[in-house]
């Protein structure tokens, strides 16, 4: 996540997409969540915890695929021409989540946007307060669901003219969150992180109108990510700030 932040803060002019896994099962808190609230979820209590820079609910990163997408809005001006300079950019949620829907079809999984799976009258139902601790027990219109279960959730962070979108695609149920099935529980082909990532990358290339090329971090991004890791994600005060 420090690398994501470094890319967000760098001067690279084009979109950057990353997929990654976690070296050990980890609980990530939404930016505004309270550390003490992790006691609300017993199964993940022993996991290492980090605080994301994006909002929303907590995620158990275990049998899942994490992605990050940094987009300078000017670089995709045609796609985001209606985007205001405030708050969420729904076009980016739509581009990524529709790409994931298309990718999952290759694994025999038919996912839908939550907003399309609801009757119109239910879409304006009040949000449950307080919202559930876990991201995958919350619902918002751009979430992907399969058979009513949320399998993909994303969140955005804005800085001047740029946007970071983080997301997590559940591939299977984790022992640390057994109540949350992943796409592997619904398809006919067991999805591996690499295969799912490759398919999403292709679909998203078409939707964003970009051509991805594999790149390594610049020296400046590397230095910045090391500094961000030290000052935020690896700093216990950052994790416990709320």
């Amino acid at each position: 996540m420090a690398i994501d932040q470094a890319i967000l803060e760098s001067e690279y002019p084009g979109p950057t997409l990353r997929f990654y896994g976690w070296s050990a099962p980890t609980l990530s808190l939404g930016y505004f969540q309270k550390l003490g609230d992790r006691s609300l979820h017993a199964e993940s209590r022993e996991l290492t915890v980090v605080r994301r820079s994006t909002g929303g609910g907590a995620i158990v990163h275990d049998r899942e695929l994490t992605y990050s997408l940094v987009v300078p809005l000017q670089s995709q001006a045609k796609l985001f021409q209606s985007a205001s300079n405030l708050g969420a950019v729904p076009e980016l949620y739509e581009a990524v989540h529709q790409s994931v829907i298309d990718a999952l079809v290759e694994f025999g999984v038919h996912a839908t946007l939550h907003k399309d799976s609801l009757a119109i009258e239910n879409q304006n139902a009040p949000i449950e307060t307080p919202e559930p601790f876990l991201c995958f027990q919350r619902r918002s219109e751009w979430d992907l669901t399969v058979s009513g279960y949320k399998v993909l959730g994303s969140a955005q962070r804005r800085v001047r003219g740029k946007i970071l979108q983080h997301g997590s695609l559940l591939l299977g149920a984790s022992n640390f969150a057994p109540q949350l099935p992943g796409v592997g529980n619904f398809g006919r082909v067991q999805p591996t992180p690499a295969k799912v990532a490759a398919s999403i990358l292709n679909k998203l290339e078409a939707r964003l109108g970009v051509h991805w090329s594999a790149e390594t971090l610049s020296n400046k991004e590397q230095e910045l990510s090391t500094a961000v890791q030290k000052s935020r994600f690896a700093d216990p005060d950052w994790t416990a700030r709320r």
Partner: protein, 133 residues
């Protein structure tokens, strides 16, 4: 006394400033505009700044979480934060109805008035908002 949005100054990043003379010092009361609140759509959290912090115009002083996005707040002025609206973070639901009175976020004692020159008046800000759609 209710604040008139037509008499405020605005940053392009949608924060408003109400500058007044208080005991010989220039104090700017800062908030976010009704347009911004509407665009952000259902604010759920706000990070409040610390009293005593020195800010430079354009510097990030807080963050808000709205539906599906965390967005920064930028100071329209330079100076020292001398007061923070401590009730606001727990009453964000009232912000939409009262962005210019109850919705104030902080008061800043200006260290440098030059930054005021780059702020927009009401007419110019409205024009910016209408162009943003």
């Amino acid at each position: 006394m209710s604040r008139d949005e037509k008499n405020l100054l605005y940053a392009e990043s949608h924060e408003w400033a109400d500058v007044a003379d208080v005991d010989g010092a220039k104090i700017a009361t800062i908030g976010i505009s009704a347009f911004a609140i509407e665009q952000l759509n259902d604010l759920v959290y706000m990070d409040m700044p610390q009293i005593g912090r020195m800010l430079t115009a354009g510097e990030e002083f807080g963050e808000v979480e709205s539906v599906k996005a965390v967005s920064p707040l930028y100071s329209p002025v330079s100076g020292e934060i001398v007061e923070v609206h401590s009730e606001l973070a727990d009453s964000l639901d009232q912000l939409k109805d009262n962005p210019y009175d109850f919705g104030w976020i902080m008061k800043v004692k200006l260290s440098d008035e030059s930054s005021l020159g780059s702020l927009l008046d009401y007419a110019a800000y409205k024009q910016q908002c209408s162009e943003a759609g």
